[in-house]
C-alpha cells in the first residue's frame, strides 16, 4: 500500500496560533454569511427530520387509502364515483397535512440552524481566543526562560572580562602599591647646606690673624 494515505496516521499537530487563526477565520465566515452556515446545518436536518416526517405521512396516507379501498370493496362500491371522491378527499387531506408539517418543520429547522450557526461561531471565537491565549503564554514562558539563560551567560562573560581587566591593569596596580609604600614612609628628604669660601673670605680671615 505504498503511497496510500494511512487513515490511522496521526495528523501533524497544529500550533495554538494556527488553531486560533483557523477558528477566527471560520467564525468570520459564519458571521459574514450566516445563511450558508445555516444551510449546511439544514441538510442533515432535512434528511433526518423532514424526509422522515414526509415518509411517515406518506405511509399513513397509504394505510388510510388501503383502508378506504377495503371498505369500498366490502361495500361493493370499489371503483365507484363515491369511492373516487372519498379517495381524492383523503389524499388531499394527507397532502395538506404533509405540507403543513413540512412547512412548520422547515421553518423551525431554519430558525434552529441559524441559532446553531451563531452559537458555533461564538464557540469558535471562544476556542480561538483560548488557543491564542495559550500560544501567547507559552511564548512568554519561552522568552522568559531564554532570557534567564542569556543573563547567566552574560554574567559569565562579565566575570571573564573583569578578570582580563585585572590582568591588563596589573602593572598599574603594582605601581600604585609601590607608590603607596613610598608615600607611607616618614619624610626622608633633608637639606644639606654647604659653604665654599671665596677670595674675600680668605683675605678677611688673614686680616683677622694679623
Amino acid at each position: 500500500m505504498a503511497g496510500s494515505a494511512n487513515p490511522n496516521m496521526v495528523q501533524p499537530m497544529l500550533t495554538p496560533m494556527q488553531r486560533a487563526s483557523g477558528a477566527n477565520m471560520q467564525a468570520l465566515n459564519t458571521y459574514s454569511n450566516p445563511a450558508a452556515a445555516a444551510q449546511n446545518m439544514m441538510n442533515p436536518y432535512n434528511q433526518q427530520v423532514v424526509d422522515t416526517t414526509l415518509r411517515d405521512v406518506g405511509n399513513a396516507a397509504q394505510i388510510g387509502m388501503n383502508t378506504l379501498d377495503a371498505q369500498a370493496q366490502a361495500a361493493g362500491a370499489f371503483g365507484g364515483s363515491r369511492h373516487g371522491i372519498q379517495g381524492a378527499e383523503a389524499l388531499k387531506g394527507y397532502q395538506q397535512q404533509a405540507l403543513d408539517k413540512v412547512g412548520a418543520l422547515r421553518q423551525q429547522g431554519y430558525q434552529q440552524s441559524m441559532n446553531n450557526a451563531f452559537n458555533a461561531a461564538q464557540g469558535l471565537q471562544s476556542t480561538g481566543q483560548q488557543a491564542f491565549g495559550m500560544g501567547n503564554q507559552l511564548q512568554q514562558n519561552q522568552m522568559q526562560q531564554g532570557a534567564m539563560q542569556q543573563q547567566m551567560m552574560q554574567n559569565l562573560i562579565n566575570s571573564g572580562k573583569q578578570q582580563y581587566a585585572g590582568f591588563t591593569g596589573q602593572p598599574l596596580q603594582n605601581l600604585n602599591t609601590m607608590m603607596g609604600t613610598i608615600s607611607a614612609q616618614p619624610t626622608m628628604a633633608g637639606k644639606e647646606t654647604s659653604f665654599q669660601p671665596g677670595l674675600f673670605n680668605y683675605l678677611q680671615f688673614a686680616a683677622g690673624l694679623a
Binding site: 551567560m153 644639606e192 654647604s194 671665596g198
Partner: protein, 146 residues
C-alpha cells in the same frame, strides 16, 4: 652672610629611599609606555537556542495570521570563548580604528606612539623612554622589560 663665597643647599635622602623612588619612577615610565590591550572576546551574551526557538515561534504565529514574520538573521556571528558564547565588539573596534586610519591617519599614528608597539615591543616615539631628559639622581634601579 657670606661674601665672595658660595653657599649651596642640596636635597638629601637615605640611599635606600632614593633607590626606591627612582625604581618607582622607572616603573611609572614603563607603565606609561604600556599600549592599549584590547579585549577581543565576547561582550554580550548571544541569543540561546530557546530564544531562537521563541523567535521562530513568534514568526510562525504571525504567519498563521497572514502577517509578515520578519524572518532572517540580524545579529553578527557570535564568538565562543571557553564555552561562553556572545557577540564581540572587537570587529566594531577594528572597523573604528580602520576608519580613523583612513580619515585621520595622523591621529591614528599619533595615539599609539605613546606606548610600545604591541606586536614588536619597539618603544613608541613619544613613550617616556624616548623623551630626551636625563635623570638627575643616580638610579640603582634597573630599566627595561622583564
Amino acid at each position: 652672610m657670606a661674601k665672595g663665597g658660595r653657599e649651596s643647599n642640596d636635597a638629601t635622602m637615605p640611599a635606600f629611599f632614593e633607590t626606591a623612588l627612582q625604581q618607582s619612577i622607572g616603573m611609572g615610565q614603563d607603565a606609561a609606555a604600556m599600549p592599549y590591550a584590547e579585549y577581543r572576546g565576547p561582550d554580550v551574551a548571544a541569543f540561546n537556542p530557546m530564544q531562537e526557538a521563541a523567535f521562530q515561534n513568534q514568526q510562525n504565529a504571525m504567519n498563521a495570521f497572514g502577517m509578515q514574520g520578519g524572518q532572517g538573521g540580524y545579529m553578527p556571528t557570535p564568538v565562543n570563548a571557553g564555552g561562553a558564547i556572545g557577540y564581540s565588539s572587537a570587529p566594531v573596534y577594528d572597523q573604528a580604528r580602520q576608519n580613523l586610519q583612513t580619515f585621520s591617519p595622523a591621529t591614528a599614528e599619533y595615539i599609539p606612539s605613546f606606548g610600545i608597539d604591541p606586536v614588536t615591543g619597539e618603544m613608541g616615539s613619544r613613550a617616556p623612554d624616548s623623551q630626551p631628559v636625563a635623570l638627575e639622581m643616580t638610579s640603582a634601579g634597573r630599566r627595561g622589560g622583564k
